[in-house]
Structures are given as C-alpha cells and as structure tokens.
Amino acid sequence: MNNDTHQRLPTTRREFLRMTGTGLGLLAFSAYAPRFLTDAAAANVPAPQKDKRILVLVQLAGGNDGLNTVVPYADDLYFKLRPKLAIKDVSTLHKLNDHVALAPPCGALANLAKDGKFAVLQNVGYPNPNRSHFRSSEIWETASDADAFLSDGWVGRYLDNCCEGAPADAHNQDPAGIHSTLTQPQTFSSKDPQNYFGISGNFRGNQRQRKRKDNATYKPLLDEFAEAPAGGDMGNFLSHTLMDALVTEKRVQQILDAYQTTVTYPNGPLGQSLKRVASLIAAGLETRVYFCSQTGYDTHANQFNNHQRLLGDLSDSLAAFQADLEAHGLGQQVLTMTFSEFGRRPYENDAQGTDHGTAAPLFVMSGALKQGGVIGDAPDLKIPPKGDLTYKIDFRQVYATVLDKWMETDPKSVLGQKFTELPFLG
C-alpha cells in the first residue's frame, strides 16, 4: 500500500495545521475538522500552558478485603474474626503505626509511606452501603447517594464543568481522559461528548505482534472517509470522533513504541497499563485523568494466597510507576488513587474467603502529598456476630479533596453537596 497516503492523517496539531495550510483548505474543512483544529483556528491563539497536575485512578475491581490489606495487627479481635485468614506472623507485616500494618507483599508501598509519598485513608465508604458489585461500583463512579441514580461519572462531570464554554479543553488535541480498561469506565461518563481514549485492545502486544494481528491495509481509505462530510449533526459528530480517535491512536502508538525507561514494571496487566500511562504522561500529553483497573478481588473462596498475590502485584506496580515518574521528574505532578466498590466482611466465611462488605482503606500516592502514612483510625472490630464495618470517611470526601486541592475546581459543582476535606493534600 502506498505509504504516503497512510501518512496523510497527521499525528500532531502542528502537522495538521501545516498540512491544512498546504492544500486541504482550512475553511472548506472547518465544518467537520476535529475539535482541536477548528477551535484553535477560531481563537487564533496557541493552546495555553495548562496546569499539568494529573490524576491516575486505579480500580481494585471485585471489592478489596481491607483487613488483610491494612492489617489491624494490634487488635485481638482481628485474629478472632479470622481464624484461618488472619496474617498471623506479625513480623512479616510492614508497620505503619502502633495499630495497623501493610500486608507482607506491600513492602514497596511501605517504603513510599516512610518517604511521605503514600497514604492510607481508613474506613472509606458511604451511608446505606449496597453489596451488589454493579450497583456499588456505580455509586462510587457516579459519586451518588446510595439511593440516587446518576448517569454521569464524577470525572465526566468535572470535565463537563471545567470545560464549559470550552476555555480549557477545546484547544487540546489530546484526550481529556485515557483508560486502560476495555470499555470506557462509568467514572468518565459525561453529558457533553468528551474526548476519551482507550489503551487496551488495539494497544496490546509489541509492534511485531500488532502488525501480524492487525493487517489494516484499509486504514488510509478509512482516514479519507473520516475526513469526508458525513452530513448533519450526527454525521459530523461521528466524523469528529473517528478522526480524533485515529489521530490519537497514531500518536499514542508512537509514544508507546518509543518509550524508554530504566524501571522494571511487573508483567501483569496493571503494571503494563501503568507503564503505558507513565509513557504518555512523560510525553507531555495534556490528558489530566487516567483510569486503570486490576481485577480479581472478589475473593469468596480460598482467599489467602490469591489476595496476597494481588496485593504484591498492586504494590510493585504502583511503586514502579512512582519510581518511573520520579525518574522523569514527574513525581510531584501525578496523584495516584485506588478505589474499590466495597470492602469485605470482617469475619471470614466457611470457604476460607470473605463476602461482600462495606468500608475499606483507600490508597493515595504522590510526591506532592501533604501528609503520608495513615489517615483515620483502625477499623472498629467490636461488632455483633455477622456484623459489618462502619465507614468513617465518605468516599466523596476523598473526591472533594482531590477536586479542590488537586484539580482546583469547586467540589460542590461536581458532587452536588459539600463534603469535609481530608488533610492528605495541601
């Protein structure tokens, strides 16, 4: 296939402008050109240098067992609730204070905590907890009350708000959010169409594997179709979206292929996703929110080894990510935060596992944390038989803190109500 044709679709804004200046004709183009072109041209100004602070969300899908993650080793009740599942050898734990310690495989995170770059927020949950994976994820991702249904996600709402009247994002060719999950996370759902991009699927494997798998000789023609007017509001919208996707796809692929790092990431999906995220951040993408996911936390049976393995992968992946960012001088620019739809029951079940519960610890990591270590008390384990943990921090307090102190937006405009903020950011 003719290679020149394939190169026709530009991968950068500059290239696009140069190209449109030499033949395509900007005016003829403007009805269906991608956002970044029309808006930048209309404003006739270079894209503003934006605040570069970036949020990386890491979903622990399935409901992470908080008690075997941040272990309340000083509380005898922990060992009573979990005759089989408790981590009995206290010397293998990484103590964070006189009450709680990180699980044995989380040594790397414990080191970050010592440096003040990692914090545990204790007992995070919400009132009237729901125990359905689906529904509770929805509550976390939309930041709704337990009895309310919102269709947009909290990050989507943030982007809708901050980009109203299009001052910030419209000049931007880069996606507003990038996710490594197969489908777009509900966290990103928005009322206005936002430019999101997924880096799973098409971006699996190395260059050679990709070539073999995706024998996409037709792509130059698709580029042409994307540029052709499709007609009407919906047609233009489709052309925009496809063109944004094709441009981003090429750009992202080039960045991923060219990325060099001295840090070794774990080989699991989370480690590899975070490596991709690091490469995109290091390349200076203007994307402000990234979303990754680690699955497998729904540990109803035979939990112990599986769960500890997941935690090891999580700890090593997060630590590698932070080290990589620091190696690129970006350690203070990125805030990483975990979340899970719920914790698990404090008492173990009869299958050496734990069932769906309520509150659980949540992690934040950044070189810019104001306070590392443990925020909040150890969970109160004085509960009736078959009882559950009580949340102390509403997860929306965490979101409010991040929105206010990190994304510099009014949290109430996103969350609809006011929440007391937490001290991990200054």
Partner: protein, 512 residues
C-alpha cells in the same frame, strides 16, 4: 425548514403520508428505523407492497420466540440444584467442587451450589442472547424485536441484578407478546413479571414496610416522567403495590402482605391495589405523552419535538386505547416521520449495527455466543443488561473512542475468514453444528467478494454505496473508493475487501 407548528400543523404532521410521497427512499428510511437494515431487495419489496402492508407485516401478528433448549435445560438444573440445596443430596453439578477438591481445597456444599448456579446462569444467559440475536436477525422478525427492545428500554430489567436467564427471557417475552394490547395493560402485566419484581424490589415491599423503588420508577420512567407526580403519590402508590411476590417462578399476589388501608393517589382516595395505581396513572394527562416521547427518541430523533406535536400524538394515541402497536402505526404512517431532516440522522444502536451488518452481508449470527456478547459489551450494549433502571441513553452516548474501536474491530472480525484449526474444540463443535443447520456463514471470505471484484471500479463504488449507505453524503466516498481501487499492486479482491471494511467502519455507515 425547521419544524414549526404554525406552518406545519400538528394535525397535518400526524396525518398519513400522501401516496405521492411514498417512494424507494421513504421505504428505505422506514426499514432502517423499524428494523436493522435496508437491503435493496427489502427496499424494493417494501416500496412495491406499500406502507400499510409493510406495517401489517411488522405489527399485525405476534411472532413467537420459543425459549431456546438451553433455557429449558437450565430451568431443570435450577430445580435440581434447589432441591439438592434443601435436602443436602449428592450434587447434580459440582464442577468447581471437584476442581477445588483436586487442588486440595474443599469448599462447602452450600457455597459450591451457589457458585455453580451462578456459572450456569451466566452460560445460559449468553446462549439465550445468541439465540435471540439469531431470531431478531431474520428480517421478518426485526421490526417486532426492535419494538421489544424499545419497550425493554422503558420497562427496564437488567441481567446484572436479576441473574436468572429464564426470568429475563420471560420478561422480554411478556413485552413481545403484549404489544398489541394497551400500554396500561402491559404495565399491569409487568408488575407481575418475576424479573421486574426482583429488579425493583417489589418482593421486599410488605404492608408496614413498603419499598418505594417500583412505585417511583413506574411513575418517573414507565408512564409519566419527572414533575408529574408528588413524593406523596409515590409513598401512597408504594403502599398500594405491596403484596406482590414471586412464587414458583410466577408473580403472585399475597393478600396478607398487602396494605389494605385507604391511600390517596392523585387526590383520589380508595383502598387501592396495584392495578388501580396503573388505572389512576393513565387518567393523568402526562401519561398520554410520556411513552410517545420515549418512542420518538428511539425511532425518530434524539431531539425532542416541539410540544404541540407531542400533545397531538398523545391525544391520537389515547383515542387508540393506548395500544402500543397503534402508536407505532401512527408514527410510521405519518407525514412528519418522512420529513427529510429525520432521514439518516440517527446513530445505530450497537445491536442494530451488528444485526444490520449480518443482514447487509447476508451472514449468520455467530454461534460463538461469548464472543458475540463481548463484542456487544465492548460496543456499549449488553443485550438485556442495560446499565441501570434508566436504560441506555442512546444517541451520541453510543459513541466514544472505545466503542468506535469496538465497532471497527467487529467489522474486521466479520471480514477475517475463520480458520477452524485455530479454534478450540468447543468452538469447532459450535461452528460445525451451526454449519449443519445451515447457519455457518459467519465471515466474508474471498468467494463472497469475487463477484463484486469482477466488476469495474465505477460499478464497485456505486454498488457498495447504494447498497449500504442510506445517507446522501456519498460523493466524497465515491471519489475516495475510485482512488483507492487505482492501486494496481494489490490483489483486486483484497482491494474490494479493504473498501468494504473501511466503508462499514466509516462514519456514514453508523447512521440510519
């Protein structure tokens, strides 16, 4: 010219299309909206037989969708499991127990049963979805199944909560078999649908502790819309709706659980029960326009019509005793429906995109039910599993970079010949079974493209565009295809394949 009630009266808007305005383009528009595609042969047939005959074919009879065998087997196994759970008898199904025992980690019987049932439900559900897609892909069934999908996006239940595939099937079948009845009647039936009882927690709603979930959604989402009822109406209706339970897989009324005292709903008082709530609702003016509004958003345009048009449609529908099929006939016969601004202006749903591709390419629905399900999931529409009680929002919400990539991947998949040697034994078996039944055409192989490849470039471009794109903006596409076909270094049939793949991925093909 924008729609304006002063120049194009609501009365005129909903009056029947003039005979002289019925042409092939109108037929194509109709087919694209009532079903999933408009292949040239169907366009020709539809044009010749006329609008009324087409609507009679679409909505004149109920075409039964028999439960696939896997559902019957499932129901059988479900009762065996339940029985074993009660009696502690040897397990009929214990795959994971055996695996776990082999791995030296025994799992208690009760838990094992729950896990097995869970796995069985998931497998059966995917098989059911596959069977339904195959049924809906038959062009004569498509309008009915599209209507069933529309109704299922109003009277929402979701597999993620209901889990039991037989309940999901029965719920959809209830909508399918009652679309010739009045909508109030359909809502009454849905109140006793086990899937709905479970989905909106009617089974936990008892005298003294009514659950408002169903009462709220019935008013907000099923019949009236926000702003047309008070919180008190909901509280009172919730009491009237107590006492409904699932017994032996049937929705039944348990009088002892019902709140028999007086309720005040819409300023009327009485010892109301479930059916009374529905009757009271349909005396409210908002009930006349709510379903028509949802109908138009699904079938006509994502942008709401000016209010006078909606009011008029609602009144005409009320005169038809709120029959759902009559609503469809009113809209699809109307002058308004055929106005040019509504043509080629909607984004296909993922299911429509997939089934439309099958119909356009004359391919069978893939027998690999997990793959099909994953494809649809990646495109943003798991059949019978909407994200929440509001259903799918539709329109632009279908499209983002991930769902677009998934649509593109689906096309690539359909154009990549399956090599049976690369399949697992299980998939090979499924493919062979499908082939034996004559449903094994799942990819566009070269043989299917040869005829087209033998034609001239000009003919190829014209034929592809006329055949597959309903929109008008095809001049640029035509030019692009001719350009592309100039490449004389590539094998011709491969060029045709490229053109087709790019065309099915192009913005225009996502419109209907």
């Amino acid at each position: 010219m924008p729609l304006d009630p002063t120049t194009f009266s609501p009365m005129q808007a909903w009056s029947p299309l003039k005979a002289e305005d019925w042409n092939r383009d109108a037929a194509r528009h109709l087919l694209h909206r009532i079903g999933f595609s408009a292949t040239p042969d169907r366009v020709e047939l539809t044009y010749k037989q006329g609008l009324q005959k087409t609507l009679n074919d679409a909505y004149g009879v109920v075409r039964p969708f028999a439960p696939p065998p896997s559902l019957t087997i499932y129901a059988q196994k479900r009762s065996e499991l339940m029985e074993a759970q009660r009696s502690g008898a040897p397990l009929p199904l214990a795959r994971r127990a055996a695996q776990n025992a082999a791995a030296g980690a025994p799992v208690p019987v009760q838990r094992q049963l729950a896990m097995d049932l869970n796995q069985l439900q998931q497998e059966t559900f995917h098989e059911f979805v596959q069977a339904w897609l195959a049924f809906a892909a038959k062009p004569e069934n498509s309008p009915q199944e599209n209507l069933t999908m529309f109704l299922g996006n109003v009277l929402v239940v979701a597999q993620s909560k209901v889990k039991d595939p037989e309940r999901i099937y029965k719920h959809a079948d209830l909508l399918r078999t009652s679309f010739q009845q009045s909508y109030p009647q359909m809502v009454k039936l849905v109140t006793y649908s086990p899937a709905m009882i479970q989905y909106l927690d009617l089974n936990t709603s008892v005298v003294g502790v009514p659950n408002e979930n169903f009462a709220r959604e019935v008013m907000e989402l099923f019949t009236l819309g926000e702003g047309h009822y008070t919180e008190n109406d909901i509280k009172e209706a919730a009491r009237a709706l107590t006492g409904i339970v699932v017994n032996n897989e049937e929705g039944t009324f348990a009088r002892r659980r019902w709140d028999a005292t007086t309720k005040v709903i819409f300023n009327k008082s009485g010892r109301f029960g479930a059916a009374d709530v529905v009757d009271l609702i349909f005396q409210e003016p908002a009930a006349r326009t709510h379903l028509p509004k949802r109908f138009l958003a699904y079938y006509l345009s994502p942008d709401a019509l000016p209010a006078p048009y909606l009011t008029e449609l609602g009144n005409q529908w009320a005169q038809q005793n709120f029959r759902v099929d009559q609503l469809a006939r009113l809209v699809f016969s109307s002058q308004l429906f055929y106005r040019p601004e509504f043509r080629g202006a909607m984004i296909k749903t993922p299911i429509q995109y997939y089934l439309g591709l099958c119909q356009d390419l004359n391919l069978d629905v893939s027998p690999f039910e997990n793959q099909v399900y994953q494809n649809l999931k990646a495109m943003g529409q798991e059949p019978f599993n909407p994200p929440n009680v509001r259903g799918w929002l539709g329109g632009k919400n279908w499209i983002n970079s991930s769902t677009f990539a998934a649509r593109r991947q689906l096309v690539q998949q359909m154009f990549t010949p399956t090599n049976p040697h690369n399949l697992t034994a299980d998939l090979q078996g499924k493919l062979m079974a499908a082939q034996q039944e004559g449903h094994g055409a799942i990819n566009m192989d070269n043989a299917r493209l040869q005829t087209l490849a033998a034609k001239s470039d000009e003919d190829i471009a014209t034929q592809l565009l006329n055949y597959f794109l309903a929109g008008s903006a095809t001049d640029a596409y035509h030019h692009d295809i001719l350009d592309y076909m100039q490449n004389d270094q590539a094998v011709r049939v491969e060029l045709v394949r490229d053109v087709a793949v790019a065309l099915f991925q192009s913005p225009a093909y996502h419109l209907c």
